[in-house]
Structure formats: C-alpha cells, structure tokens
C-alpha cells in the first residue's frame, strides 16, 4: 500500500520532501553551531561546508526516488515514437498505394489498428500518474472547525478511519486549528473509552502544544497509559510490580519503583546490564516532543523509559530554560553508571 502511495506522489512532491529533509539537517547543524557561540551567518556557512554539495546530494536522492519513474517515462517515450513512426510509414505506403487495390488498403488499416491496440494499453499503464490538483478534503475541514462539538464529531469520524490514516490526518491538520479548546476536543475521541490504537502519537503532539491545557491533558493521558501498560505486560516481573503498586498513591509507587530499579542495577554485572535495563522500559512513555521541567522531572523519577529520555537529553541540555538544563544534567548524572551514551552527553554538558 505504501508503495502505491509512493508511486502516486508527484515529482514536485518528491523534490519538495527531499529539499525539506536536507534543509532540516542544515538548520539543525547551524543551530548547534550557534549554540556553541558561532554567529548565525558563519554557522550556516559551516553547516553547508560540512554537508558538501547540496545540489549533488539532492540530485542523488532524486535519482533514487525517481529512478523507476524515469525508466517508465523513457519506455513510454520509446513506445510513442514507435507508434508515430509506424503510422507515418503506413500512411506513406497508403499514399503511394493509391493505385493499389482496396484490399491492400484495408489490410494496412487493420495493421495500424492492431498495432495501436497493442501499444495503447501499455502506454496508458506506463503514463506518469496524474497529479492530485485539489487538497485532501478532510484536511480542509480542520481550518473550518468552529466549536468543540464540531471538533469532537469530526475527530470521531477520523478515529473510525483506518488507524494510521486518522492519526496522520490529525497530525497534518493540527496546526490549522488555532484554538486550543478545539485541539483538545479533537483528542478526546482518540483517548476515551480505552484509547485508540494510535493515541500515543497524538498525545505526544498534545504534550508539546503551546496551549497549557492541551499540554496538561497530553501528559495526564500519557501517564495513565503508562500505568495501564504495566497492568497489560505479560512478564511476571511487570505483573508483580503492578500488583505491588496498584493501591499506592503515585508518590509511593514511584519511590518503590526507583528503589527496585536501583536494586536491580546494583545486581547487574557486565553483559547482564543490558538485559536488566529492560526493566526500565516498562513505562511506555514517549517523550519525543515533551518539553518543560515538570515532564522531565516526572519521567526522571519514574525511572521509566530511560533510554528514550536519554535520547532527548542532549536537546534538553541545549534548552534556553536554565531550570530545564539543570534538570537534564541531574538526570544524566543519575544514569552515569548505567548507560554507554552518558559519557558523550556529559562531555557535551561540560563544553556548554
């Protein structure tokens, strides 16, 4: 199915995506250099120098993406040329054969028709797909939402679509909905009644929303999902844990889990360490876009999904918010003994 969608993407879309991807890379590199004290203009120059020839990379990516399409277009062109030449030759023969009898003419015409009927279906099959000229009507509706009721009703329709399609539409239309209350209303059908299969990605989106109410809702749901996730895990260790903490309040439960976590880490040796680290993956929080000290603090103390958080820690270290930077440093120091990425991050922290 994915291949099908790829094939109908237009050349312009493919090129725009390549440009956007390369531009993001250069912007990230430049941002990092600016954070190290390089001025903006010089940072951009250095980023481009390090990247190499942008035009060359763009051309190579385009050739890979478009390779099959270019080949089909060439075959199509050759078939068209053959057809035109055949028609011209037959026409010329017909002209010369004016004095020949009608039987020969009929045979020639039949030959032309036969050739056309053979080539036309192939030419049609190989023709480049038509570009969609109108925007997705579902996407247009996001900008037109006026009330929470409308938003919830629309999201209910989306939640009933094929799972990834509903989620992708919400992600694509999210920024077109300017009112936070409406964005909140869009989320509800995805998280209520046990939660939609693709809700986590939407909650990540909510957790980085500029509106504090949407953000709070996103975090709260992520936490609830995490607790539920404990209950559903098949390994005895998770069930034991869940049985132990289910009646505790959140603070006591977290203290218990941190204590368990430390105990296991102390017991872990050498190659056992990685296996033991599996224990901390029990909290299935995805702070991919989580920002803000409160979120980091909660995730830190939960001991949950440490690898996932560590992946994001370098970004937090570069945050403009000093409180957040400090929290990230504490978090990294907390995991100094247990993760092979940490030395690099600490170096980065010290450089800053």
């Amino acid at each position: 199915m994915r291949g099908f969608f790829d094939s109908v993407r237009s050349q312009a879309q493919i090129e725009a995506e390549i440009d956007a991807e390369l531009e993001f890379h250069l912007a990230e590199r430049a941002r990092e250099l600016v954070e190290q004290g390089v001025n903006v203009e010089e940072a951009r120059t250095q980023a481009q120098r390090r990247f190499g020839s942008l035009a060359d990379v763009r051309r190579r990516c385009r050739n890979i993406q478009m390779g099959e399409r270019i080949m089909l277009q060439r075959i199509n062109f050759v078939l068209n040329v053959v057809l035109v030449v055949a028609i011209v030759l037959l026409g010329w023969s017909a002209w010369r054969g004016k004095r020949q009898d009608a039987q020969v003419m009929a045979a020639l015409q039949a030959e032309v028709q036969k050739l056309s009927s053979l080539l036309e279906p192939r030419a049609a099959a190989l023709a480049p797909p038509q570009q969609p000229l109108t925007p997705d009507p579902m996407l247009v509706r996001f900008g037109a939402l006026k009330t929470s009721e409308e938003a919830t009703a629309f999201a209910t329709q989306l939640a009933a679509l094929e799972p990834r399609r509903g989620r992708d539409l919400i992600c694509a239309g999210w920024s077109a909905v300017t009112d936070g209350t409406l964005r909140l209303a869009l989320l509800r059908p995805f998280v209520e009644g046990g939660g939609h299969g693709e809700a986590i990605e939407l909650l990540d989106l909510a957790a980085s929303d500029p509106d504090p109410d949407v953000r709070a809702f996103g975090f709260e749901c992520l936490r609830n999902y995490a607790w539920q996730d404990f209950a559903d895990r098949p390994r005895p260790i998770y069930r034991e844990w869940f049985e132990r903490v289910r009646d505790l309040d959140l603070h006591d439960a977290l203290e218990y889990s941190v204590d368990q976590y430390h105990r296991r880490l102390r017991a872990a040796q050498g190659t056992e360490l990685l296996r033991e680290l599996g224990f901390i993956e029990v909290v299935d929080l995805q702070p991919a876009t989580a920002r803000g000290f409160d979120a980091l603090h909660d995730l830190w103390w939960s001991g949950g999904e440490a690898g996932n958080i560590l992946d994001r820690a370098p970004a937090w270290l570069r945050s403009e918010d000093p409180e957040l930077r400090e929290a990230a440093e504490r978090f990294i120091a907390h995991f100094t003994l247990v993760c092979d990425e940490v030395p690099g991050m600490l170096r980065e922290a010290k450089k800053r």
């Binding site: 995506e17 390549i18 890379h25 941002r31 992946d311």
Partner: protein
Amino acid sequence: MADSRAELLQGTLHLLILKALERGPLHGYAIVRRIEDTSDAFLRVEEGSLYPALHRMERHGWIESEWGLSESNRRAKFYELTSSGRRQLREEQTLWERTAKAIDGVLRAQPKGA
C-alpha cells in the same frame, strides 16, 4: 598531522545506520549524532552520503520513513527499522564481526621464521 577522526569504511554506512535505528526512529541529523556520539566522536559520517544511503535503504525496504516533529519542534523525516531491516542488521553485523576477526587474525600472524 592526520585527522584523528576516521571517515567511515566503505560499506559500513548501512550497518551503522541500521544499528543507530535499532533503538527507535530517528531523523537523519540524529542518526549522524548517534553514530558520532556512540563512537566517542571517532567516526565521522559524510553527511552528503547519508541521505542517498537512507533513500536507497528505504527502497530496499529495510527502513520506512514518516514525517513528524523534531525535538526542536520542526517538521522532520523520521526513519524506522522494518522487520526486513532488523534481519539485514543481524546479517551485516555477523558479516562485520567475521571480517573484523579475520583481519585481526591476519594482523596478529607472526611472519614465518620469526
């Protein structure tokens, strides 16, 4: 004086990209950082080679991509391993380990008569 950072050996870029993605989806820039950070900044990825490699690997079906939001809240293309990519990673890793072991054996061999 020679640069103390090593350019990637021919043919290892795919392996390193697959390995970088083993722990979850990353965008291209994060892949570069992951490889450099985990090698203590010893390996240097040719950024111009990274994207053609990613697109080729996607064509092979080893990875798939999806647009999302980066840590800096910008739109970025994230790549994720497919099950075929995980198989490929295992195969390439095994091959690499065998190759490294074989080269090590050659380097450690004593000259005849020594």
